[in-house]
């Protein structure tokens, strides 16, 4: 095994592959910095440029850019409260609060270090799990995926909010919003109200941008103040960023737990990589000493989602390479790229091309570390953005959001709905409904429904009694109820 890992490393560090990766990294970072453009956009945009490349060189080109996108997205999430892509929305919760308190540099340092190490962790797991994961992955059928997705929404809803009930309302609303458009069983359009746009349901990017970015922009416009409060602005130095990076080592427990969660969630085909940062955030909050201070600017609230977000990429490659089943939508597109290069992922792929599979793990690891280093060098400059007065920054952000919403799908309706969801975000923010839970419910809604229908068709209502399903339900209930055990015991005694 170690021989394969070493020879795969040799493949990756050939000059052609290395130069291609270094070219792709800045493209990925720029795409990550632009709200609305995500990792899937990076792969889609770069696929045409990879035609004619050697398979490994082409895949290195795509994967390096893809891995770098997340870094750019976390920077905008921390500095501006605007998630570059959906998984970065979990980083907004505490990262943006840290920036407001003048600790943006530390938050960036923590995010970059957690991302780089989380990415490395996912790749190491990928390298070691590839040969043995097949039976485990296959033990997860539709009922298990149904409960796993539902548990993901419940975690963030209950643990990430001031009021658990309001968190659950938000999570359920997210699932309900995902049900608009064509029904997956009979193909009947639901709740479309004669509006053609709704035939395909609401779109993710306008929802995420509207919910998270618009309330912040309206605040900036109203107050006219800079993001970092006057008097709390510390001059951002590399030292401050480095201190933030070292904070990851002070919270190694959170880092490892989040990385493991990210990798595991990434491995589950169809669960969706966007779940990982939210679940990791909720787990970090649950196990913290003062959970109520989460959301007010805790460095652990940055470390957990960032570590899991990048660790999941290694995890998502496991089912993509070993089964030919993509672990996320971006991996589905990557699967298409494999076919373009004449490679067919699946059990046979591992037998024939184990060196390429391990080389891909090397590439993701290298891209994570290299893009983190690049962002580290840029961080000092980027942090000056938080000192720009709100009356100048807000309209610029608004213009970026309008263009970002449009460019995802070339649809004017997306821009309109970004504003509609922005209004919803303002109301939810004002009355402390958990916006992250809504977003996660929306992301996982179609997965939950699809797995529900398949489970009902295959097992009937008894699908809840499958042993792995019962295990997932039990673990989820324990994790949700444990922080509220005193309240539950009180209710039990009263009853």
């Amino acid at each position: 095994m170690l021989g394969v890992i070493a020879s795969a490393g040799g493949l990756v560090f050939q000059p052609a592959v290395l130069i291609t990766m270094l070219l792709a990294l800045p493209i990925g970072i720029v795409i990550g910095l632009l709200p609305g453009l995500s990792g899937i956009t990076a792969i889609a945009f770069l696929i045409p440029f990879s035609y004619g490349m050697e398979p490994l060189t082409g895949l290195a080109f795509l994967l390096a850019a893809y891995a770098a996108v997340s870094q750019g997205g976390s920077i905008t999430a921390i500095l501006l409260g605007v998630p570059g892509e959906v998984p970065n929305a979990a980083t907004v919760i505490d990262g943006y609060q840290l920036t407001k308190r003048g600790h943006g540099g530390a938050a960036i340092g923590a995010a970059l270090m957690a991302s780089a190490l989380g990415g490395l962790f996912g790749c190491v797991v990928l390298a070691f799990l590839l040969p043995v994961m097949q039976p485990v992955i296959l033990s997860f059928a539709s009922p298990e995926n149904f409960f796993l997705s539902l548990a993901g929404v419940s975690f963030i809803a209950v643990l990430g909010a001031t009021s658990p009930v309001r968190g659950l309302v938000a999570g359920m609303l997210g699932i309900f919003l995902s049900l608009f458009g064509y029904d997956p069983v009979e193909g009947v359009p639901r709740f479309w109200m004669g509006f053609e746009y709704l035939l395909d349901g609401f779109r993710l990017v306008p929802l995420a941008l509207g919910l998270f970015a618009l309330p912040e922009i309206l605040t900036l416009m109203t107050t006219g103040r800079s993001i970092a409060q006057p008097g709390k602005v510390e001059p951002i130095t590399y030292r401050q960023v480095a201190e933030g990076a070292l904070a990851v080592f002070k919270h190694l427990g959170i880092f490892f737990r989040s990385s493991v969660l990210g990798t595991l969630i990434g491995i589950m085909p169809g669960v969706g990589g966007s779940t990982a940062p939210f679940v990791a955030y909720a787990a970090a909050r649950q196990t913290a000493e003062n959970p109520d201070t989460f959301g007010q600017g805790r460095i652990e609230g940055v470390i957990a989602p960032e570590a899991s977000s990048n660790a999941k990429e290694g995890g998502a490659l496991v089912p993509t390479l070993s089964l030919g089943i993509p672990g996320s939508s971006s991996m589905a597109l990557l699967l298409g790229a494999f076919l373009i290069f004449g490679l067919q992922p699946g059990p046979d792929f591992l037998k024939k091309h184990m060196d390429i599979a391990i080389a891909l793990a090397w590439i993701v690891a290298f891209a994570n570390v290299a893009s983190s280093f690049g962002m580290f060098l840029l961080s000092r400059t980027l942090t000056y953005v938080t000192r720009v007065p709100g009356r100048v920054l807000a309209p610029i952000l608004l213009a970026i959001i309008v263009i970002g919403s449009y460019s995802t799908d070339n649809s004017v309706a997306d821009v309109f709905f970004a504003f509609v969801f922005g209004t919803l975000g303002v109301v939810m923010e004002r009355y402390q409904y958990n916006r992250a839970a809504l977003l996660l419910g929306f992301v996982l809604g179609s997965t939950i429904e699809r797995n529900y229908h398949v489970s009902m068709a295959a097992y009937g209502a008894s699908f809840v009694l499958r042993p792995v399903s019962i295990g997932i339900i039990a673990i989820a209930l324990i994790l949700i109820l444990w922080p509220n055990r005193k309240r539950v015991a009180l209710l039990w005694r009263r009853a």
Binding site: S163, E186, V188, R190, T219, M221, L398, I403, S407, V415
Partner: protein, 149 residues
Amino acid sequence: MNRAELIFPAALSAVVALLLFSGYFVLHYSFKVIAFPLLTGAALCALCLVDIVMTMRSFAAQPAAEQAQDSDRTFSLASLAWALSLLLFVYAFGFVFGPALYLLTYLRIHGSSWALSFGVAGASLAVTWGLFINLLRILLPIQPLWWPW
């Protein structure tokens, strides 16, 4: 706490109930099509009801002064109007010139210098025209949205 916060869960459950009702009784979706939305919608309405009850209970438990307290967020109607006016600019001048003109107008009216306003508007053109249209090949409409062709 504020009594206005009862409106959100109440309105939410009303809209969801209306959608489900119209789906089943007016649009005649089959049970298979409506089953999962029905489950989700029922759970959502039930949770909204619990939320309303809990909020009302908290009113009873809290002093009036605290009830009047709102979130520390402040949104002015003027800022909302300015945000929405970007849509008008985009409609009137397209996705390339609309945002640039909006930035120029907004920044000048809010006291920024001509140099800064023109600089930001120029940067906006560079991003939309240079980065999005020419480099990323994203087809942002250059012409106004009301333009017939």
